[in-house]
């Protein structure tokens, strides 16, 4: 075997990992081997980093039904015009590049990716995708659509989980994918200004080179756009540490349906001069305008990061570990993620990776600390670990000894949406629940499905449901209830809804903690917000979008 340098090792890893996007690297005296190991290489140190193989190609073979057929009670709004050849010609005339238009006449198959959502539950029938390259182009498009009553769907990386990013009927898709430049970064203040279509991971890599970090991180980082993140007010893995986008986003540039461009890319942290307009756009899910640029405050990257993974015997133990972590780790705690045992089984099964601990426990927790002083952090972490082990709060655990191990441990959390999607689809509920009742939702739901006899586990192909699993950002009281299924089934849906929402309402939780409302939750928002609040929301919507062309049929009921 030839010399295997770090570069080769990395090439091997990179070709399999979804996470790594680094440039090639070097070091002194390094023999840069041109040969890359065969990809079927097994049992290498590198193989521990191998991310999930694309489990989605499995799913992709199944046809997704049109939303219009699946939900016949939702009707196309007759106020909206139908797309004509003249419309397409107009768009061609205002867009600077011919690659900015994907049109059913040129290439119908290319439209599929824009019409189908990540969960493969919703599929629209748009005949046109536009990829403008500037706010000016967006403005021309929207003004025309507004005048012509053509409905539109703004689309980022199309990783949204509530069916908000794809058309319901024939709405025009306006993709921000071609607006992907970093505009400026100020190393002193940490303020990044960039286009909405910059991919989250690219923004983060750019910042990493400059010793900073994007204040948001989530499993879809390789595809989602920062504009999409702002439009959904995504929460993610590090909200516990860096707070919500409502605090970190300093300004937006956005185009209103009538073509008006709001140039409000503030870079100031404090600015009490009138209504804070950007807040309307954060979490608006494409219903009031299109975000074309954002400015955001980015913290310095911590140079000491530790990752630990635990096994625990009951949810009560998890709560005690959480209380202790808050107390002992304090300001360096940057993530506290909960995964129940079944989620780890699904990940194990779909990736073939060995479990990180010698046993599999009913609950697993992933903790991350980030700080500026390695020794200080290690001392804190060690004291914490000794206590939780000593008091038998955690049954077993491990601490990543290097970056590769840290990344691999994170896969057991971040790879869960993909693992769940493996068999065909997932019913997803993203809820906030007070911590005392946190896991009861999963237990109650499991009982519901067991009683109905719909659960087939990973082996029995005759039943739709694989199981009922839960994981989430425990640090933010945010739970993801997931019901992975072999096929979407009205019986399953009937059991879940409105059961889940009523359950949440009783405990004063939120029916959507971070994924938003989109198409999936529109008719359930009243379980978390009262009629007065909804009425005021409708007035806001009307002010910005009186003709209702922006992402219709979604978000909140319009009447």
């Amino acid at each position: 075997m030839q010399s295997l340098s770090r570069a080769t090792l990395r090439a091997l890893v990179r070709s399999n990992a979804t996470r790594a996007t680094y440039s090639s690297r070097t070091a002194p005296g390094r023999i840069l081997s041109s040969r890359v190991l065969p990809l079927n290489a097994t049992a290498t140190p590198a193989s521990r980093e191998f991310a999930t193989q694309s489990t989605r190609c499995y799913v992709a073979s199944k046809e997704v039904k049109f939303t219009a057929d699946n939900y016949p009670n939702v009707q196309r709004d007759p106020r909206f015009s139908k797309l004509t050849r003249e419309d397409v010609d107009y768009f061609k005339s205002v867009l600077s590049s011919q690659s900015s238009i994907i049109d059913a006449q040129d290439d119908a198959s290319e439209l599929e990716g824009f019409n189908t959502d990540w969960v493969r539950k919703y599929r629209g029938q748009s005949q046109l995708v536009l990829k403008p390259k500037s706010a000016g182009e967006v403005s021309k498009i929207l003004k025309y659509c507004n005048d012509r009553n053509l409905a539109v769907v703004p689309q980022g990386g199309n990783t949204g989980l509530v069916g908000g990013s794809v058309p319901v009927f024939d709405e025009i898709v306006i993709s921000l994918a071609a607006m992907n430049s970093i505009r400026s970064f100020d190393e002193v203040s940490g303020v990044l200004v960039c286009d909405a279509g910059v991919i989250l991971e690219s923004a983060d890599s750019y910042l990493r080179e400059r010793n900073h970090i994007f204040p948001l991180d989530l499993g879809a980082k390789g595809s989602c756009h920062v504009g999409g993140n702002v439009a959904t007010n995504a929460g993610g893995l590090r909200l516990l540490r860096y707070g919500s986008l409502h605090g970190t986003v300093l300004g937006v540039e956005a185009v209103l349906p009538d073509g008006t461009i709001l140039h409000d890319l503030q870079t100031l942290r404090k600015n009490n001069t009138g209504f804070d307009l950007k807040q309307i756009f954060i979490g608006s899910e494409g219903t009031v305008g299109i975000i074309t640029g954002i400015s955001i405050l980015c913290p310095r990257r911590s140079n000491a990061v530790n990752t630990a993974y635990f096994g625990l015997d009951s949810f009560d133990h998890v709560k005690r570990a959480f209380t202790k972590a808050k107390k002992d780790l304090g300001e360096i705690l940057s993530a506290f993620e909960l995964m129940d045992g079944l989620t780890q089984d699904l990940f194990h099964k779909t990736t073939g990776k060995p479990y990180p601990l010698s046993d599999r426990y009913p609950f697993h927790v992933l903790i991350e600390t980030s700080g500026s002083n390695g020794e200080h952090d290690s001392a804190k972490l060690e004291a914490f670990l000794e206590e939780v082990m000593g008091e038998e709060i955690v049954a077993d655990g491990t601490v990543a000894q290097d970056e590769t191990q840290a990344q691999t441990l994170w896969r057991w959390r971040e790879g869960l949406p993909e693992a769940c999607a493996h068999w065909g689809g997932t019913y997803k509920y993203d809820v906030s629940i007070p911590l005392n009742d946190f896991y009861t939702l999963i237990e109650d739901c499991r009982k519901l499905f067991d009683d109905a006899g719909l659960v087939g586990g990973m082996e029995d192909d005759s039943k739709p449901v694989i199981g009922v699993v839960g994981w989430g950002h425990m640090g933010d009281s945010n739970l993801h209830l997931n019901v992975p299924v072999r096929w979407y089934d009205k019986k399953v849906e009937g059991l879940l809804e409105p059961w889940v929402y009523e359950w949440i309402e009783k405990r004063k939780g939120s029916i959507s903690a971070e994924h938003g409302l989109g198409f999936a939750k529109r008719d359930f928002v009243q379980y978390s917000r009262d009629e007065t609040a909804l009425e005021i929301m409708r007035r806001v919507k009307n002010t910005f979008d009186p003709k209702g062309i922006m992402n219709p049929y979604k978000y909140i009921p319009t009447d």
Binding site: A20, P28, A43, S358, V399, E403, Q407
Partner: protein, 257 residues
């Protein structure tokens, strides 16, 4: 069946998931403030030693000794090795500096330790990912006059003998040698375990003996001097084409079609 007394040398290197940067004066890579971890090949050596113990009857492996010749922080690397299952360790402390010891110096230190500690098997990484020298194991075998099996993808203990499957270009080679022996590890040998919390705690109490380079018969100065270190030329950014025709004409322009 003979009793194994294993020596496992481990080295603290820049974490292999981290991108090294060349310093301003182009004499070395930056090490200050950069994440370091155990050389991945050495993780394989540690794992293999522990597996040898787990696979055989309790007395087969008498003792697994880890050793690191490195800066003060190399002690962390030794703790990791002990958390993974090594019994004790020796830390030959050298000051943190840009220039590292050369393989021959390291091999000479190891030879003395092997003799003093009565080792009969040394398992090393086939190379370390910082200087990629790939010489220490071979030199050590030479100095000791022992047999060596380099680039192991499988190690089987059979009485007085070791049967080692080695990776060679385009295939494998199986060799058999009588103990004592030097074995170097290759990527496919095993998949190192995570250090469990209880073992991390236990490792803190295991013995870590401190030594200095002066305790050994080696000269500290290197035979070679690093003149210059440079990064590879930056990759040219990719260009974008508008459509298939554009792609084809671009490929033609570049002479690829």
């Amino acid at each position: 069946m003979s009793t194994l007394r294993i020596l496992v040398p481990v080295k603290r290197v820049i974490d292999y998931a981290v991108k090294p940067r060349v310093n301003k004066s182009q004499t070395a890579v930056e090490i200050a403030g950069v994440k370091h971890s155990m050389n991945p090949f050495d993780e394989l050596s540690v794992e293999e030693s522990v597996r040898l113990r787990e696979k055989h009857t309790p007395k087969t492996v008498e003792d697994i000794l880890a050793i690191s010749i490195g800066p003060p922080k190399a002690a962390d690397t030794l703790r990791t090795a002990m958390a993974m299952g090594c019994d004790r360790s020796i830390h030959v402390e050298v000051p943190e500096k840009d220039e590292m010891l050369e393989p021959l110096q390291v091999a000479k230190v190891l030879k003395e330790v092997v003799e003093k500690e009565g080792r009969n098997l040394v398992i090393l990484g086939k190379q370390s990912i910082d200087d990629d020298s790939s010489q220490t194991g071979q030199m050590l075998a030479g100095l000791l006059g022992w047999g060596q099996a380099c680039g192991a993808s499988e190690v089987v203990l059979d009485g007085e003998y070791l049967k080692v499957t080695k990776e060679v270009d385009g295939g494998t080679e199986v060799v058999k040698g009588k103990l004592p022996m030097v074995v170097t590890t290759d990527l496919r040998l095993n998949e190192p375990r995570y250090a469990s919390l209880p073992n991390i705690m236990k490792a803190k109490k295991k013995k870590l003996e401190k030594k200095k380079l002066e305790d050994f018969q080696v000269r500290a100065e290197n035979r070679l001097k690093n003149l210059k270190v440079t990064e590879p030329p930056p990759r040219q950014g990719g260009g974008k084409v508008d459509n298939v025709d554009g792609l084809i004409s671009k490929l033609k322009e570049l002479g690829a079609l």
